[in-house]
């Protein structure tokens, strides 16, 4: 797979989960106890043998640079190839700043790259996928563009791209919908194409005033290209709403999904932190939960996810909650259907409760 260049586009619409993306892009939302969302696409690329990955940086790039750093943790700190960043170049007028414009400004990098194919993706999708299968599909169908899609099997309440395919896999329709029905085929926002097709689409559509790769590029050029849909039937969740984030997190408490994402397939890499093993004290009482290294537990935890370095004191009760890195829950506090962002402190005896369909969010660094 070192003939495939990975491109991760972080210009993603993050207004839909604004409570946890006020200071970070979707790509660095903490997830599953120790990961950031970008870990899933990045690890899938690396595990598929891709050794050259370009990251198209968004506005709030600090948390991205801080998370990825040298790329070492994904084995992408390489003398040649490896991780690199695409930035909008600011020396021209600032009008028409867009995803397509950034691609257009960086076309030379793509032109010079030795890879034959480009795998383009966002970073808001949770999956663990071997792209070698997608490449094989792409080559076998002789597709110009292969779009990955999945069947959520449940109604999606947030905006998504729904596609229709003919029997042979050819895409016959692409639509941007506010929501999708239970039986819809939903695009994962991941595309495989030759570098040549990618360059053509970017040049053609940007030079004609386009701004969005899907809307102004692919969707207007369906007549030009053979676009195939490739269905992925493993676990997929595209996170673009707060409820989606909560629901996907709770999915992980299903051992089958936990195993599929983390154990049975290639590993998901993330920035390593050298935490100590989780410590269970004599009053610990934990059921049906995911617990990360560095936690110290003296209370009750049920149906919950604890990130690294969370401290649960005596008498605490936590149910159906997500507690991010560095939170401190003092004696006898009680949380139900709550998402605590990083470094939240809940004082002794406090009681917080959200609804199952509308979890309560406690912002980063808050002391309650």
């Amino acid at each position: 797979m070192n003939y495939v260049l990975g491109l991760i586009n972080l210009h993603e619409d993050n207004r839909l989960i604004k409570e946890i993306t006020r200071k970070r892009p979707i790509a660095t939302i903490p997830f599953a106890g120790r990961y950031r969302l970008i870990d899933f696409i990045l690890s899938s690329m690396v595990n598929s043998g891709i050794i050259s990955v370009g990251i198209m940086l968004p506005d709030k790039a600090a948390s991205i640079l801080d998370h990825l750093r040298s790329g070492k943790d994904w084995d992408l700190a390489r003398r040649h190839e490896g991780l690199f960043y695409l930035l909008p170049s600011n020396d021209d007028d600032d009008i028409r700043q867009s995803e397509l414009k950034t691609f257009y400004q960086n076309l030379n990098i793509m032109r010079r790259s030795p890879q034959e194919y480009i795998l383009l993706s966002g970073a808001h999708t949770v999956f663990n996928i071997d792209f070698n299968n997608v490449l094989r599909f792409h080559q076998n169908t002789n597709a110009d563009i292969t779009m990955l899609y999945y069947r959520p099997g449940r109604k999606l309440h947030s905006p998504c791209t729904v596609i229709k395919t003919k029997e042979n896999g050819l895409v016959s329709d692409i639509a941007n919908c506010p929501a999708a029905g239970e039986d819809a085929d939903v695009s994962m926002g991941t595309y495989l194409m030759s570098r040549k097709v990618f360059l053509e689409i970017v040049e053609h559509s940007y030079e004609r005033g386009g701004s969005d790769f899907l809307l102004d590029g692919i969707m207007r050029m369906t007549a030009h290209y053979n676009i195939y849909g490739c269905c992925y039937d493993g676990y997929v969740s595209c996170i673009n709403s707060l409820y989606g984030y909560y629901q996907t997190s709770m999915d992980l408490l299903n051992p089958q999904i936990w195993n599929e994402l983390f154990i049975d397939n290639a590993p998901i890499y993330t920035r390593t932190k050298d935490d100590v093993p989780a410590q269970y004290k004599s009053r610990a009482n934990v059921h049906n939960s995911l617990i990360s290294n560095g936690c110290t537990i003296e209370g009750l935890v049920e149906n919950s996810i604890l990130f690294r370095d969370v401290r649960i004191e005596k008498g605490v009760k936590i149910k159906n909650s997500i507690i991010m890195q560095g939170c401190q829950l003092h004696k006898n506090s009680c949380l139900e259907n709550v998402i605590c962002d990083k470094n939240v402190t809940i004082s002794a005896e406090k009681y917080l409760k959200g609804a199952e369909s509308y979890p309560l969010i406690v912002e980063k660094n808050t002391v309650i």
Binding site: A32, W258, F262, P277, Y280, A284, L290, N293
Partner: protein, 384 residues
């Protein structure tokens, strides 16, 4: 490539006192503390102390240690100059000379050390569990204008005869040294951590090499010789947790030391212990699990009950299985209904349903790497 101070870790012992745990791996590669290996401790201490050139002197079964250390990245030791080097016995014209003792091991690597032209050499042992900032010790070494400094710890009078015991004057200068004395004059025990001025040590190593009566050992030969020559030998007092884990009993005890309500040794804190391991997700605790006074690591799946135990990454504990006072090393599977009491279960073992691992006489049961235990009862144990 001038380096002020480089470290040499003596990791060469066959570790036969650790029995079946060292059948396939060298002693420093033995697992400890829920996610570490023994060698993580000296390596992390070096890295955190700013010592970034480390030689690991290994003699037996270096392969697993070799692949474990890799580029040294996990310990921040993948440096352009320096970094971590595995040093097996140096190949001579005709045949390899095995390391004949701790001093000989350093002697045979004089060329390696000279590459870095160090002022000081720090000699460490590969089988002790402790955290220590060597840069403080080096600071004291310089302040004392010492030629050699030995780190010491107070032990009980009873234990003293198991160690090398120092007597010091009021300035900390060592006046006498006895290796495993019957009637110890003091309770200051050598921790096997030495800083030497390299020029001086080199001379002593060369002399020692030529001495055919010598056992080529730091404690038995080099240090006594230096004392006799009135070399400026100082002690450096250490009062933290320090444990030799060279036996099954002490390895088990050191693991148990991590578990008390306020543990005698706390792995947390700002002094990070680095470790290289497979990327694994947070561990999964099932609906009927019950875990108290224990350490559990990533990727484990716990459906049974665990008490006073250390659970390594990727371990599976089945439903109604019960683990008490035990250490379960990576990727071992304890099936439903099995009971493990006061045991060390090495890597990749499988304890089948309803098996019972325990020992009649209260000793520690050890299950060797890769074993599958199928019969029910205590007969299947292998004492280390």
């Amino acid at each position: 490539m001038k380096t002020e101070c480089l470290a040499m870790i003596l990791a060469g012992g066959q570790g036969s006192r650790l029995g079946v745990l060292t059948k396939r791996v060298a002693k420093p590669a033995v697992h400890f503390g829920g996610k570490y290996r023994i060698i993580d401790f000296p390596l992390s201490n070096c890295s955190n102390s700013g010592i970034e050139t480390v030689g690991v002197l290994t003699q037996y079964k270096p392969l697993e240690l070799h692949t474990y250390l890799g580029t040294g990245e996990a310990w921040n030791l993948d440096r352009k100059n320096g970094g971590v080097y595995i040093l097996p016995p140096y190949a001579r014209e005709k045949e390899a000379d095995w390391y004949k003792g701790t001093a000989d091991a350093i002697y045979q690597n004089i060329n390696f050390i000279e590459t870095y032209d160090p002022d000081y050499v720090l000699i460490l042992s590969g089988d002790h569990i402790y955290t220590m900032d060597y840069s403080w010790m080096l600071e004291e070494h310089k302040m004392n204008k010492a030629e050699a400094t030995i780190s010491v710890i107070k032990v009980s009078h009873k234990e003293a005869s198991r160690f090398g015991i120092m007597t010091t004057d009021r300035n900390g200068r060592i006046t006498a040294f006895e290796e495993k004395p019957k009637n110890p004059q003091s309770t200051l025990a050598s921790m096997g951590i030495y800083i030497f001025n390299w020029r001086l040590l080199k001379r002593y190593l060369e002399e020692d090499y030529a001495d055919c009566l010598s056992e080529h050992d730091f404690g038995k030969n080099i240090i006594p010789k230096m004392l006799a020559d009135h070399v400026r030998l100082f002690s450096y007092s250490f009062d933290g947790y320090w444990k030799d884990v060279g036996t099954i009993e002490s390895l088990w005890e050191a693991n148990m030391d991590l578990l008390k309500e306020t543990p005698s040794f706390d792995l947390g804190g700002s002094w990070r212990i680095y470790s290289s391991h497979n990327p694994l997700p947070p561990h999964f605790i099932g609906a009927n699990a019950k875990i108290t006074n224990s350490l559990v690591s990533g990727g484990a799946v716990i459906d049974g009950s665990i008490k006073n135990s250390v659970i390594f990454p990727g371990v599976h504990i089945g439903k109604k299985a019960r683990i008490v006072n035990s250490v379960i090393m990576p990727y071992s599977i304890i099936h439903a209904g099995a009971v493990v009491e006061k045991a060390i279960v090495a890597e990749n073992c499988e304890i089948m349903n309803d098996c019972h691992i325990f020992s009649d006489n209260g000793s520690i049961t050890v299950i060797a790497e890769g074993e599958t235990i199928t019969s029910i009862g205590s007969d299947n144990k292998q004492v280390g």
